[in-house]
């Protein structure tokens, strides 16, 4: 009996279709989790069957901000802290576009904090993915608004003494309709969460805790990326629906993950249209999505 000869066609990595492969390799360090979040992002796009021609990604400045430059989508690498207002303009001008803001903890919560809370307040239909590596990584690991207490950073040589924001709590309080947190260890859950968020109208926010082995972990003698991933596995607990004021982070303590907020609230555009129609009747002419001619 002869052995059957079979040719295996190796299927491509699903992430390849989404990457600007002419820009590989990327700049992220060994053990950095940002690339992991991008895998989850691409899986989420595939699973949610999002029309990729109608999806734009907007980022700010920082290591996570570089995501915009690597994905093969309409992508906008904007200024520090201002991805959200750029996304606001893009979304309002092109209402059928799915607009994803992909940026880091410092970009979104320090310099960009004001824009974040207003976009959440308005319930703009944009999806924010915040990769939180607890530091300003790109510039060398300085203290950020999410850096826990007692952590050594480039600008806190003796350890931090000002408390961080609790990111889910802040966006929840500001009015976000979808708030979740995962770590880069939770790849399956993160991909599912992203897909869920893409389908939900309104201001969605997912915090992804990620290693920064070169700076944050190294300065605090917390090992490398793999050590950090094992740490996430060890200390994280999935507790959906936890009140967001209870999910604050500490240097080595429990990381509560899960979906914390999933509520219904009309988004900005829906409210605007309904109100103007009510007030102006036939005189109201809604803005149309532009066509190139």
């Amino acid at each position: 009996m002869s052995t059957p000869v079979v040719t295996i066609t190796t299927p491509e990595n699903p992430v390849e279709d989404f990457m600007r492969t002419d820009r590989m390799p990327h700049i992220w360090c060994p053990g950095c989790g940002i690339g992991t979040t991008v895998n989850c992002f691409t899986r989420a796009l595939i699973d949610s069957k999002t029309d990729l021609d109608k999806l734009s990604i907007v980022s700010g400045i920082g290591c996570t901000g570089r995501v915009a430059g690597y994905v093969n989508l309409d992508s906008f690498h904007t200024t520090h802290g201002r991805a959200i207002p750029f996304a606001t303009g893009l979304k309002l001008a092109s209402p059928d576009m799915t607009v994803v803001v992909y940026s880091g903890d410092g970009d979104l919560f320090a310099i960009g904090g004001n824009h974040l809370i207003h976009a959440a307040r308005r319930n703009l239909d944009i999806k924010v993915i915040c990769v939180n590596n607890l530091t300003y990584a790109m510039t060398g690991g300085q203290t950020g608004p999410a850096t826990p207490l007692d952590v050594i950073t480039a600008t806190a040589a003796y350890g931090t003494y000002d408390p961080p924001f609790n990111l889910p709590q802040l966006v929840d309080a500001a009015g976000a309709v979808y708030v979740a947190r995962w770590t880069t260890f939770h790849v399956k859950q993160l991909a599912r969460s992203m897909a869920e968020m893409f389908k939900k109208k309104g201001f969605g926010f997912i915090e992804v805790i990620s290693p920064c082995p070169t700076l944050y972990q190294r300065r605090n003698k917390m090992g490398d990326g793999l050590d950090t991933m094992k740490f996430y596995k060890q200390v994280s607990k999935i507790k959906h629906g936890t009140p967001t004021n209870e999910v604050g982070l500490t240097k080595s303590g429990e990381i509560i993950c899960g979906k914390f907020v999933d509520r219904e609230r009309p988004d900005f555009s829906t409210m605007m249209h309904a109100h103007l129609e009510h007030e102006l009747g036939a005189k109201y002419i809604p803005a149309e999505a532009p066509v190139c001619s």
């Binding site: 295996i8 950095c32 992991t36 793999l226």
Partner: protein, 89 residues
């Protein structure tokens, strides 16, 4: 017979170890080989255990590995396929 296989883009790997650690079937280990940047890329030490779940692919921050099902494409031996990246680094 393996249900799956992995494909590794050796030149992209930075030997972070995520795939090795989180493969549920413990198929992978960092090899003794080097890529041009001096990293030890992974290889499948027990390829017959691979289920093609692609958790390695989801974890890899460098897009250097992914897993895929092979049992759905007729009888096939699981082979480790190494693809040299031709891109300039």
């Amino acid at each position: 017979m393996a249900r799956g296989s992995v494909s590794i883009v050796v030149e992209r790997c930075k030997a972070c170890g995520f795939c090795v650690e989180f493969c549920p079937s413990k198929v992978l280990a960092l090899s003794d080989a080097f890529n041009s940047k001096g990293y030890h890329p992974p290889h499948a030490t027990t390829p017959e255990k691979c289920t093609g779940c692609d958790l390695c692919g989801m974890y890899c921050p460098d897009f250097a590995i992914h897993g895929f099902r092979t049992d759905k494409t007729a009888a096939a031996a699981a082979t480790e396929v190494e693809k040299e990246s031709g891109d300039a680094c």
